[in-house]
Symmetry: C2
Subunit: 290 residues, 2 copies
């Protein structure tokens, strides 16, 4: 049996009581480390915190392991109970769907245990979940690679009056160009897109495409470390959000569509106080309180 | 402090370890009972199970209480730590946003703790979450009231190749017509829309509107009791799903847009076996295993 278990967004205690029971009886516990590692504080002492709470030693499964050694994990799961821990919800990322499909093909039983993910926790920003259109991903632009397919999707959403959740690029364990040439594995340092970079790229694409999908005045909400104790939520125009320092990753951005009065009241609470001379903004207090 | 705590979808053990700690130290614990009561088994011994696990007596807050007595709950929260438990995630329903807005206005600190909701757990059906368009609600049709605004939304989603999550009507504690006339409070029995009724209504609207948004052949996925031990997921054409008995509530329905190969592989696992003479379908085993 392969348990694919969502850990939620905040920290090691966001595992459910049911999950914790499942993990404790598993023979072996893997944790996927590449979808949103840092959000979970696993860079420092996070892993040992997890091991202490769960009472199990945990194997870090990085991108290569999941892609190259999935069959090994699945073979183990055919013989015994194996847990595969995932930050957020198991179906936030395509990779886990792929793992389920492989498991099914090998005749391995799979049990999925859900938890919060950015796809529903984003509701905290005040824009109603059922008023979102298609989610987009904003990739890091490079000198020669500036893909902008997200633009058409945002334009469609906005034309329908819908909000758009923008997931921002994460680059973890990318091989360096040099290492690719030399055949040795060396990795770039991890890289997480900030809300500021995302807005700069969005505005650049609007300038090139000229489709009036959005502009510097468009109401947006920047969210950093969603679901964590120190999350920050700031609402304002794209131009205003450009001036905010949201701090450590992960960041995401919502571009508002048409808003209802209740949504506007919520956005007010998160609004950037433009008249504040120190440029301070509404942030959630420590403890993640609003 | 008002804690608004998501309980997840399955049962009392889907509360997170962190939530459980918060609930245990609260002075008073309310649970909202009207958004998706039955999904949580609270009809029978569910409430006492919760009370046993959480070590607290829990006040059931039905629709009237939340709407009429919100100020009382919020006053309590100004003086002490109060927990308001919600099935799913706190921001699945507009009511909870309203509660947050009221709390803010009264100067009450609010802390939201997320959990899984249908909005992300639906990923288990195999259709990728970031390929969904606007979510729609299908209300029960009556003789004189057959609102079909969901049709335009599904049509827009399908035109963009996007999937549509259809949330099906729940009627709990609706006053009877007779009781409204007599001024005494008597309630209709609770009523939950089945996938079958939803599809019948959808096809009726397509016939009236004639916009070719979908038809009996359109690939869809019916999901009953999502996230519970006995969840059922069946993929097939709308016409095929009409023949399936999905059992107890809650039900929801996904109308597929354009599908990718990985999505199709997942749908295969849930496909209705049309050639099966007994009309059996793929269902998840007990334990919620796939």
């Amino acid at each position: 049996m392969l348990y694919i278990i969502g850990l939620g967004l905040g920290d090691e205690k966001d595992i459910t009581v049911k999950d914790l029971e499942a993990v404790k009886k598993c023979e072996k516990v893997y944790i996927e480390a590449y979808t949103s590692l840092l959000s979970f504080g696993l860079s420092s002492d996070g892993l040992s915190k997890l091991e202490n709470l769960y009472g199990r030693s945990i194997t870090l499964a990085d991108r290569e392991m999941v892609e190259e050694k999935a069959d090994q994990i699945l073979s183990e799961a055919r013989e015994s109970e194996i847990a595969f821990l995932v930050v957020g919800d198991p179906f936030g990322a395509t990779t886990h769907t792929d793992l389920v499909v492989r498991a099914k093909k090998m005749g391995v039983e799979v049990k999925v245990i859900h938890n919060a993910s950015v796809m529903n926790a984003i509701g905290i920003c005040g824009l109603q979940l059922y008023r979102y259109g298609e989610t987009v991903s904003i990739p890091f632009f490079t000198e020669n690679w500036r893909p902008d397919s997200f633009y058409d999707k945002i334009q469609s959403n906005r034309a329908l009056g819908l909000h758009t959740l923008c997931l921002l690029d994460i680059r973890v364990k990318e091989p360096t160009l040099e290492s690719l040439c030399r055949g040795r594995k060396l990795y770039e340092p991890p890289k997480f897109m900030t809300i500021n970079t995302a807005i700069e790229q969005l505005l650049e694409v609007e300038q090139n495409r000229g489709g009036s999908a959005y502009n510097e005045e468009t109401t947006s909400v920047g969210i950093a470390r969603l679901g964590s104790e120190d999350q920050i939520i700031v609402a304002g125009s794209m131009g205003q959000l450009l001036t905010v320092d949201f701090g450590a990753p992960l960041h995401c951005l919502v571009i508002a569509g048409n808003t209802h009065p209740l949504e506007e009241e919520m956005l007010e609470f998160y609004a950037l106080k433009g008249e504040n001379p120190e440029g301070k903004y509404n942030k959630t207090s420590s403890n993640g309180a609003l």
